[in-house]
């Protein structure tokens, strides 16, 4: 049984690291949650492990935000279902570098 195809937008530095241009599409089996989407991203692009969330705790890095459908999902339950528009592929799931995250 095929999974659901989710559109994901990654920040520029991570696209460069992973050799990606533009939006990526990943197939998620089972429930479409923030955790399941990021799990699939990290499997497909191992170089991104540790750059979105901590290697061990799996917590979002402090200067990473998660947006979708004009909502900030950064502090939502990672295991909660993503909006239907994301699960259906109508809207992308956005991984964003916080505006304050740059260095000197």
């Amino acid at each position: 049984m095929p999974g659901q195809v989710i559109r994901v937008e990654l920040p520029g530095h991570l696209r460069a690291l992973a050799g990606i241009s533009g939006e990526v599409q990943v197939e998620v089996m089972g429930a479409v949650t923030q955790r399941s989407v990021i799990d699939v991203i990290e499997v497909r692009y191992p170089v991104l492990r540790g750059t979105i969330r901590d290697h061990v705790t799996k917590e979002r890095r402090a200067f990473i935000r998660f947006f979708a459908c004009q909502q900030d999902l950064s502090h939502e339950d990672l295991d909660a279902p993503l909006p239907v528009a994301v699960a259906s592929g109508a809207e992308p799931y956005l991984v964003v570098g916080a505006i304050a995250g740059g260095v000197r």
């Binding site: 920040p11 520029g12 530095h13 991570l14 690291l17 170089v47 492990r49 540790g50 750059t51 979105i52 290697h55 061990v56 890095r61 200067f63 990473i64 570098g97 916080a98 995250g101 740059g102 260095v103 000197r104």
Partner: protein, 371 residues
């Protein structure tokens, strides 16, 4: 003909500067990893094509890059730095206990014998190593778990392990330095450690002569004399002649003995270089004059080296890992500044010129001398 390759880490990427042995015409490649902080990049002494680089961003954390072709191409390797076992606390800026927390890799030190073996000094202070070319990392926990660890304190830049010196005569001996804990020595390849800070004196800690707590900024060693170490401390330039058992101050006639870098001439073990900085409150050269100081007597007697360096209105800093020497017959000395200049002297410091003027702030400079 011999050539040199200078590896420059900056706030916004890495640059590779190459020249022939004359060191007067340079090719500049970069930025590699544009937009990322490159804390340090260093090549293996046994395989100069193998280079490791520490890549960091506030958004995405730590990455380690490896090159097998002298910096032309790079591949990311493992970036998982996990402290061994349960981490305790160290002392926070305000004196309260604070949990150990990995932040970044400050310094990468390739082994003297195996290009796949490399050490990483990290913040919060700990020593890691990889024996598979960076494919995996494991902590050498004996350092962080030393009985004094709960008294280590971050310096202004964080609690980083920034200096790793390997003894080519005694493979088991490693020296490291931490800001602000001090210097430590292992005689069993990093399994156990002891502080080597006797003789250091620091007015900014409750007991100026304490066993730990000293803000060591950098240390240097000539490979032929691994028992002799030179140190630029927060204040004071120091030396030891017995592997750190006892230090003595050799600031001598320096106009200020605050600074970050220190290095040793490739062929003259008693010729050392520092770049004095005005003070801990004013991180720029004294009187706006960029001057390297050289001692040919292992300290105490210093001469200012100014030819080719700006002697007015210069307010840059030279950070702790931003000086290096090559091993050509006429020893080249290099340093980078927070103003984005990388200077070279092909004659041991007598005359200087800028290889590049306008890079991002320079965090580190290393040099490879190529056959």
């Amino acid at each position: 003909m011999s050539s040199v390759r200078v590896l420059v880490g900056t706030r916004k990427g890495a640059f590779v500067l190459t020249s022939d042995g004359k060191r007067d015409k340079w090719d500049v490649s970069g930025p590699h990893f544009a937009g990322w902080e490159i804390y340090h990049a260093k090549g293996s002494p046994v395989d100069p094509n193998r280079i490791y680089a520490s890549q960091f961003s506030g958004w995405h954390g730590q990455l380690i890059q490896r090159s097998n072709d002298g910096g032309k191409t790079w591949e990311p390797v493992d970036n998982k730095f996990v402290y061994d076992g349960v981490t305790g606390t160290h002392q926070w800026y305000d004196g309260t206990p604070h949990p150990w927390d990995f932040k970044r890799v400050w310094h990468l030190e390739p082994s003297l014998t195996d290009p796949d073996h490399v050490y990483a000094g990290v913040e919060d202070a700990a020593l890691f190593q990889s024996r598979d070319g960076g494919a995996s990392w494991a902590e050498l926990p004996g350092l962080r778990t030393h009985s004094t660890g709960n008294r280590w304190t971050p310096g202004a830049g964080g609690m980083g392990l920034h200096t790793i010196l390997l003894d080519q005569k005694n493979p088991g001996r490693i020296y490291i330095a931490i800001s602000a804990a001090g210097a430590f020595r292992s005689d069993d390849a990093g399994q156990t450690w002891r502080p080597i800070n006797k003789g250091l004196r620091s007015q900014y800690i409750p007991d100026p002569n304490a066993e730990v707590g000293h803000c060591v900024h950098h240390m240097a060693m000539h490979p032929s004399r691994p028992d002799v170490l030179f140190m630029q401390k927060h204040w004071d330039v120091m030396r030891t002649d017995d592997g750190g058992e006892q230090w003595k101050e050799v600031s001598g006639n320096l106009p200020t003995d605050f600074g970050f870098v220190i290095d040793v001439h490739a062929h003259e073990p008693e010729t050392i270089y520092v770049a004095p900085i005005k003070s801990d409150l004013e991180h720029f050269p004294l009187d706006g004059q960029l001057r390297v100081y050289r001692s040919r007597t292992g300290g105490n007697d210093w001469e200012a080296l100014t030819m080719g360096l700006p002697q007015s209105n210069c307010y840059v800093n030279i950070l702790r890992d931003a000086m290096a020497v090559d091993t050509l017959d006429s020893c080249g000395v290099y340093f980078g500044t927070t103003g984005g200049q990388v200077y070279v002297s092909a004659d041991g410091g007598d005359q200087w010129s800028a290889i590049v003027h306008d890079l991002p702030p320079v965090l580190s400079v290393e040099v490879q001398t190529l056959a």
